[in-house]
Every structure is written in C-alpha cells, then in structure tokens.
C-alpha cells in the first residue's frame, strides 16, 4: 500500500466476524481521492460493518487497510479526527437543541472559534431561526441535513455516509445530492451507502456487496457492461399471463416486473432473442424492445448469483 496519495480509502482482504458468522469476508476496495463512491448491497450484507471498520470504530479480524493514509488497526484515533461519519441512525441528541448539538460536536473536536463555526454552520443550514428547537422535533429531511452539518463541522477530508437519505422525501434527496456533488467539487472524498438506484447512478464509482463479499466494482456503465446481461423490455396491459410464460423460459436468467413493463434478461443474447421470438409473434399488441439492463437489473442479477453461490458455502 504505497500509493497512499492516490486513495482516500484502501482496504485489502478486510474480514469481520460476529461470533462464528462472517459478516465481512475478504473485502478489498479502493476509493480515490475526490470521488463519490457508492456502496451498495442488500440489507445485512455488511455495508455498515465495513464502514465502521474503515473509520476505526470496529477492529477487523483480518486483512489490512488505510484511511487517509492512516492504518485502520493502529491509528484509529487519528482517523476519527480526520473523518466525518454520518451514522445510519440519527446519531445526535434528540433532547438537545440544534445549536446545542452542533456546539457539543464543536467542543468534542476541540475547535477554535467554536461559536463562529457553529453560527456559520447554522447559516449554511438555514436553521438560524430554529436553532433553539429540539433536534428530536425535526422532520426526517431536516435531521439528515443537521447530521450532515455536524459531520462536516470539523472540515474533514473524507465523508462516510451510511444510508444518509433513507426515509427522506425526493426533493430533500435531490437537494442532498446537489450538496454532495458540491462537496466533491471542493475536493472532499465521499463514500456513501444507499439502496436507491438513482443515487447509485450519481456516483462516480460503485461497489456492490452481498453476504459480506464484494461482487462487482466499477463505474455504473462498467458494471452494466461487466454483467454480460442482455435485456428485453416488454410492455402492455394485463401481462400477468404472458409474464408467467416468459419467466419460465430457460434462456431467461432474470426478470423484473415494473407495473406494466417487464424486464427480462439473459446471459446469452442469441438464445434470449430466439426464445422470445414465438411470443413476440403471438403477442403483437405488446411493445417489444431490446435494451440495456438497468443498474437495478444488474444488482438483482448479482444478488441471485450470490444466493446460488453462497448457500452451500454458508452451511460449512
């Protein structure tokens, strides 16, 4: 790990066990400085656990890693000073006011000009008028903004955001991502975990993990290409019967139903096209088109593969 200048986070074979359950399994990942890095995976796949290891909150059971050039085993205390971490759950005090929360964070980081920094943060948040309101009484979107402001208060070079937009309305999410891109433009590196596909597409690069193992890494476009999937989109009214028949085809490896649209994907483009042809002729009232798989298609496909691969292994 010599190239510490290029990467903000660089981990190799990171492993974490809880009891005899391997929660993170030989995870290797590199986050370049200044990029927005998406971290995706189903519930319980080990995203939060990985992030906690990267910021020195959890000690890994194996592997090695550096965050901002600091060793995650021996320099956890320094990492904590340099990194801004926004926890998955709202981690501020609901019985303190907005101002008191920020003030507390400022004190804990032993900041100079505390009052001024808190004031600036409040102004940037647009919460000056409500600074005496209890944090617990804020709506989900405002809580998230406050938590981000708290994580940014000590001006970290690296932000770790664990599902920052869960349960937040679309407008607030959009604003939030504007801000993230602005921060990235200012040179801050951002690792963000999410379950939203539109957010995944806004990242420079992504990793997808399941059962604690890394399944794919790359830009959104690379992930789609790497998957080797070919997708057909079928749409039309009342397609329940047709869906059932199509999904049963041997050439279809995966399908996703969206209202009146069905995505059917397969590894082998030729076999897929041939298998669909009879149906296409028999059902001309539907719209048939060959398209690129979406990120969601890719992730669901990866997840299905993972289930098949890991189930026997999980029993050993």
């Amino acid at each position: 790990m010599s190239s510490s200048s290029e990467y903000a986070i660089e981990v190799a074979n990171l492993t974490k066990r809880f009891g005899d359950k391997v929660v993170v399994d030989q995870l290797s990942m590199q986050v370049r400085k200044g990029e927005i890095y998406g971290f995706l995976g189903p519930n319980g796949s080990g995203k939060t656990t990985s992030i906690r290891m990267m910021c020195g909150l959890l000690t890994p059971d194996g592997g090695m890693g550096q965050t901002l050039g600091l060793d995650i085993f021996s320099q956890a205390a320094q990492i904590k000073r340099e990194v801004g971490y926004m926890t998955q759950r709202f981690g501020l005090y609901s019985d303190l006011t907005i101002r008191e929360n920020l003030d507390f964070v400022a004190r804990v980081y032993a900041m100079n000009q505390r009052k001024q920094r808190v004031n600036t943060a409040l102004e940037r948040l647009g919460l000056v008028a409500r600074q005496k309101q209890l944090a617990g009484s804020l709506s989900g979107g405002w809580k998230q903004r406050l938590a981000l402001a708290a994580a940014l208060l000590h001006q970290p070079q690296l932000l770790l955001l664990d599902e920052p937009t869960a349960g937040v309305d679309p407008q607030a999410r959009r604003d939030f991502w504007e801000q993230i891109h602005q921060l990235a433009a200012d040179g801050i590196t951002i690792l963000v975990s999410t379950h939203y596909m539109d957010e995944a597409e806004r990242c420079h690069r992504l990793s997808y993990i399941a059962y604690g193992r890394l399944l794919a890494t790359g830009t959104p476009q690379e992930l789609i290409e790497q998957s080797g999937l070919h997708t057909w989109t079928v749409s039309g009214a009342a397609m329940a019967e047709l869906s059932k028949q199509l999904v049963a085809l041997a050439a279809v490896d995966m399908h996703t139903q969206f209202g009146n649209t069905l995505h059917i994907s397969g590894k082998d483009p030729l076999a897929l096209a041939q298998a669909l042809q009879p149906f296409q002729i028999a059902n001309p009232s539907y719209q048939w088109s060959e398209s690129q798989p979406t990120l969601e298609d890719v992730f669901i496909y990866l997840m299905q593969q993972a289930t098949d691969n890991f189930q026997p292994a999980g029993k050993t």
């Binding site: 906690r52 909150l57 000690t59 981690g91 005090y93 008191e100 004190r107 804990v108 032993a110």
Partner: protein, 374 residues
C-alpha cells in the same frame, strides 16, 4: 484525557438532565419520600399492643399486675374481663395481640407458696411485633408483685439478685428506630439512584444510537464514562444534603461525628456504586435490562446490608454476601460517624473494603466498557 472534551460531555449531560424534569424531580423526591415513609411509618419496637385479660381472680395482686402492665407502655388493655372463648377468638381474628389469663385462686396459691402460673398467649406470627413486649413481661411481673409482697409475705417475693445488672443502651438510649433507619437510608438511596442513573444513562446512549456517533469522534471511552457520571456525583451530594437536613429537622437524629469524614465516605461510596452502574451498562443490551440488573443488585443491598434487619442475626453465608456489598460498609460508616462520633481510626476498616470493591469492579467494568463497537 482532555479536559475540554470531558467538559463538553459533562455540559451535555447537565443540559439533558435539566430537560428531563421527571428524572430530576425523582432524584430529589425519592429521598424525601423514603425518609418520610421509613421515618414516620416504621417502628421496630412497637408499643401499645392490644391486650385482652381473662381474669378468674379479682384480687388486689391482680389489680397491681394489670396496672404494671399498662404502665410499661407495651400493653394496652382493650378488654379487662373477657371469657376464654371470646379472648381466643379475638386472638384468632387479630383484634388482640396478647391474651393474659390470671387463673382462679392466683392470689391464694401465691400466698400459700404453690407457685401458680400466669398464661400469656401472644399472636407471635410476626416475631418482631411481640418480642420486646414478651421480654418485658417477666421483669415487670416480678417487680409489680415485689411491691405488694411486703411484711409477712415478703418471703414470697422473688429473691433479690446477688449482683446488680446495669444496662447502658449506648448511642440510642431510648431505642428510637429513626436513629438507626435514617442514616441507613442514605446508603439505600445512594445505591438506588447512583447505580440506576449510570447504568441507564450509558445504556441509553447505546440504545438510541448516539454512542456510535460519540465513538466516531475523538472523544475517548474513558472521557465518555467520566463525563457521564460526574453530574451524578453532584446529585448524590444533593441527596445526602436533603437527607441530613431532614434527619436533623424532622427526626432530631443526632450528628456527633465529623461532617468532613462523612462527606469523604460518601464520595468513596458513590464511586463504588458508579463502578457497578458502569459494569451493568457494559453487560446489558437495553435500558430494561439495565433496570432489572440494578434492582437485582439493590435487593441484597437493602436486605443483607443490615439496613432492614440486624446484620448479626443473619446466618454465616448471608453475612459473607453482606460483607461484599458496599452498602454494608457504608451503613457502618454512617451510623458510626453520626451516632457514635467515630473518627478516621474507626472508619478505615470500612473504607478499605470499599476501596477494594471499587478497584475490583472498576477492573471488570472498564475492561468490558466498549471501546469500539466490537
């Protein structure tokens, strides 16, 4: 250890405490309520116990006996001429605590030297309620009769002892229950609030997810711990002040020892309890469990410490458990200082076990206190 971070933690804790009015009220309310309850309601030396007489001999000796009975303060005669059946019923129904039967020809048999018997039947279901009264009766009967058996009858009077037994009831000559209970309450109340507040306080941070946020900042676990418990030390002293003031104003409990020694002992005792609270918080998963564990510890601290029941009356195994509880040693310290005027010389044998306790539990507690989230 950074003072700035520690101060940040303490400040936050004080603000939260000031918002939580109910908890705050309870911490002052609990000592007041318990003092009033234990101070006014509990008496381990009950007097004026209802007594029924079944009299088959209406002589002057009987009259003196009854008079003496009343004068002792332990017995209150509610029926001085019941028949045997009525008396038994009253005993069974709990209307009478005692039935005293004076047999027929009591006076004649006594004079003839036939050694008649008096029968005292007691509802001794609760031994504590009857013990002192029964003990007083023997002596009372003898002295009452000696008064009447003079002149020609003097040979019948019980022989005077060949030596005199003098009893000095030291430190609490009148046997006032409050003198014992009120200082003891200090230990119980401190045990209760100190353990519960720290155990709950730290568990709450973990349960509500704020601990993860805290640990991701530069603040150290030890600073979190000290910052969280420091405000409770102050609250502990507020409680002690409330108890001491009420002990003086309401119950006139004497305070003959050194106040500074007492305050020092309180400090040691508070630390002992805080270490338990921390240990509990690092073993439990949620606030409910923290509450249960606190009570699990509180119960022996009340029952086996000598607060409720005499320590020397307990079997060996219970005494051994009792010796390991901080409250046991603290009670001896407080009672010693307040009632006996004990100084450092008498105090250190109890301060030492407390210090050992703190040391041992601290080792366990700090080891278990989660540094990271592992």
């Amino acid at each position: 250890m950074s003072w700035r971070r520690l101060w940040a933690m303490m400040l936050k804790e004080f603000i939260q405490l000031s918002r939580d009015r109910l908890t705050f009220a309870m911490m002052v309310g609990i000592p007041i309520m318990q003092l009033l309850m234990f101070g006014y309601a509990i008496n381990t030396d009950p007097k004026h116990l209802t007594t029924v007489l079944v009299v088959y001999d209406q002589g002057s000796l009987t009259r003196s006996l009854v008079q003496a009975l009343q004068n002792s303060g332990y017995f209150q005669v509610v029926n001085n001429d019941a028949n045997a059946q009525v008396a038994t019923d009253m005993l069974a129904q709990g209307e009478a605590q005692f039935v005293l039967t004076i047999p027929a020809n009591f006076e004649r048999d006594l004079i003839r030297g036939n050694y008649p018997s008096l029968l005292l039947e007691a509802d001794a279901a609760d031994p504590a309620a009857t013990g002192n009264a029964i003990a007083s009766l023997q002596q009372l009967a003898e002295s009452a009769l000696r008064h009447d058996l003079t002149g020609a009858l003097s040979y019948l009077a019980p022989p005077a002892n060949s030596f005199e037994l003098r009893i000095h009831r030291l430190y609490n000559p009148e046997g006032i229950t409050q003198y014992n209970i009120v200082p003891g309450l200090m230990g119980v109340i401190l045990t209760m609030t100190m353990i519960m507040m720290t155990a709950l306080g730290i568990t709450r941070e973990v349960e509500q997810g704020t601990m993860e946020n805290l640990l991701a900042t530069p603040i150290k676990p030890l600073e979190v711990m000290i910052g969280k418990i420091a405000p409770y030390i102050l609250i502990g002293y507020v409680q002690v002040a409330v108890i001491l003031l009420m002990a003086r104003i309401l119950f006139n409990v004497p305070f003959v020892g050194s106040l500074s020694l007492l305050l020092f002992s309180v400090m040691v005792f508070i630390f002992a309890n805080l270490t338990i609270g921390i240990t509990i918080s690092s073993t439990v998963r949620n606030q409910t469990q923290a509450m249960q564990m606190s009570f699990f510890f509180l119960l022996p601290s009340i029952l086996l410490s000598g607060f409720m029941f005499p320590f020397r009356g307990m079997p060996r195994w219970a005494q051994i458990i009792g010796e390991m509880l901080p409250n046991t040693h603290f009670l001896r310290l407080v009672r010693g200082i307040m009632l006996k005027g004990n100084g450092w010389h008498e105090a250190w044998p109890h301060l030492l076990p407390l210090s050992i306790f703190i040391f041992v539990v601290m080792l366990i507690g700090i080891k278990k206190f989660r540094r990271t989230l592992d």
